[in-house]
Amino acid sequence: MTTEERVIAEIAEANPVPDAAPSSAQDRAEAERVLQRVLADAGSAPPPRRSRPLLGILAPVLSLLVVVVVAAVILRTGGSSTSGERGTSRLSITLRAEPTPQTPRITKGAMSREIALMRRRLATLGHGFTVQQAGATGIVVTGPASRDSERARVTRLVAVSAQLLFYDWEVNVLTPNGKTAAAQLAAQSRSAISVSQGGRYGAGGLGAGGMSLYDAVKLASKQAPLPLSETQSRKGPSYYLFGAPGSAACAAVAKIDGAAHQQSEGQHCLINGPDSSLTDLYSGLPAGVTKADGHMLRVPQGTVVLQAANPSASVQIQPGSPDAEFFVLRDHVALFGSEITNPLPSTDSTGQPDVQFGFNGKGQAAFERVTKAVSHRGANVSVAGAEFNQHFAVALDGQLLTVPQIDFHQYPDGIIGARGADITGGLNPQSARDLATELRYGALPLAVTVVR
């Protein structure tokens, strides 16, 4: 496993100016002074007098202008554009981000999270999609889809919230031998302890027993299909198409996706997927790549592959990144996002940031049942001075958001859900707000409107 994202994450966390947007009238006045100095030094004609600072007037106009210009440039450079030559016309969707009650200001960070989540969602459709910021609030999505149905699918993916899933972690997460962590903790299996107790970023994070996407999907593909039940998040199998390390297919994928999605040497690359049908999987392959160039893996119903949690709120690791890690879980959902209510960022009794939320009736019963099981297991596997608190995983859009532990000393019979629950620890005020927003909306921090 590489350590790239860990180092970058720590440095990013220490960014002394995380949001470079103007925060005060003084900032805007400074910008105006700088502009006038430059124009004066450049010997340009004196600017016309303005009743408002230039940036104050120009910012909204230029913002919109940049959206249109970037969209036009992307359309112009995007290949066959609307002509449909060789049947590979591209779509372009221009969106405008808007504040929400939970994210009342459109900041650089909010836009970054918005775009990262959109990219993550579009990655499920295959390759060739780009999501770019255009101006302060514009987002332009381009990709290889021409039919109205495809456009609708893309629009839905980038503009609609997704469902949150809650799992009992150790009972569902598999180690490389295909057994659950819970089944091996009593024997103090090294891999089970690693997956259960986590590493530098806690359970479910980087360096906590995760594996490459190919290894995870390969492990998942070996699991037996399970009958459909209402506790599963997905109906039917999902399909992945991988290219062999160093193959021409991987080179074609890397060329399309650019540096951000380049695979590490010696690793398989994801050509397409996950898709719910082989037809979808084999459509939209990169130019020059056929299904014969890839190795198809089928993950049966009842098993899911989830990406490890990001190391921090400010670092979003793309699924195609060489640093991305994945876990394989049995798809036995303890609680769905629709069963929690009113998630809010707050602080715990010691003043640390936390996220509080409540449950509806069904959710409360499910929460009490699963936390009781998690707590009892923690007590059972903690023997001979070794304490192994057990965990509860929260996932969104195929990625773990957080995997908090339950203290079996404090909650020997689980957590009573009547007063809701708090997730605390490992959060700063910003990440607590982000998590609350994701719990509330299941996804995008900002609302988006389709401009055209």
Partner: protein, 177 residues
């Protein structure tokens, strides 16, 4: 006259589009009192080169700002208390780079030990969010050379973090009454 107006318009658009990103870049690397001068100098260079700017001028603007700051730092080297302490920690070598207050001491020491080129490679990725190709343009090298530089920097930081702190694990608890 018309050409002059067009040029002014193009420059004002460039300024409005990139001013805040460049200012953030400068703020992260320069004393507060120097920011305005650096920005003015940077955009004056941009005015002069306006006709030769490409479609994505931001990395180039970062590069100009970096050179302007380097010139300013050569004239006036500013050292704070933390830099003094870190200088002791790394064996008396002076470093013109001051770690931000929010950076852990362990990471700050590791960063100070890097060469300026390696440090800038990490910061362009972590703070400015540039990918390899754009960061390479900002520092004026090839993407391959930048990747190698970034790899070296990461390796050095990891090696210097002899005893990494364990991040606090998240936990779930019952709601407050």
């Amino acid at each position: 006259m018309g050409r002059e107006v067009d040029r002014r318009g193009a420059f004002e658009e460039l300024f409005a589009t990139h001013y805040w990103a460049v200012r953030g870049y400068v703020q992260r690397r320069s004393p507060a009192e120097a920011v305005e001068d650096v920005m003015a100098e940077t955009f004056l260079v941009a005015w002069r080169r306006l006709d030769s700017l490409g479609d994505d001028p931001l990395p180039w603007l970062f590069g100009v700002a970096r050179r302007v700051m380097a010139n300013a730092q050569r004239a006036e080297r500013r050292r704070g208390a933390l830099a003094e302490r870190l200088r002791d920690l790394v064996g008396g070598q002076a470093s013109p780079w001051e770690p931000p207050a929010g950076m852990s001491d362990e990471l700050a020491v590791a960063m100070v030990k890097l060469s300026p080129q390696e440090r800038e490679a990490l910061l362009l990725v972590a703070w400015e969010g540039l990918d390899g190709a754009r960061a390479a343009r900002a520092v004026g090298c090839t993407p391959a050379a930048f990747r190698a530089r970034l790899h070296r920097a990461r390796r050095h930081v990891v090696a210097a973090l002899a005893d990494p702190a364990i991040a606090p694990e998240s936990s779930i608890a019952g709601g407050s009454p």
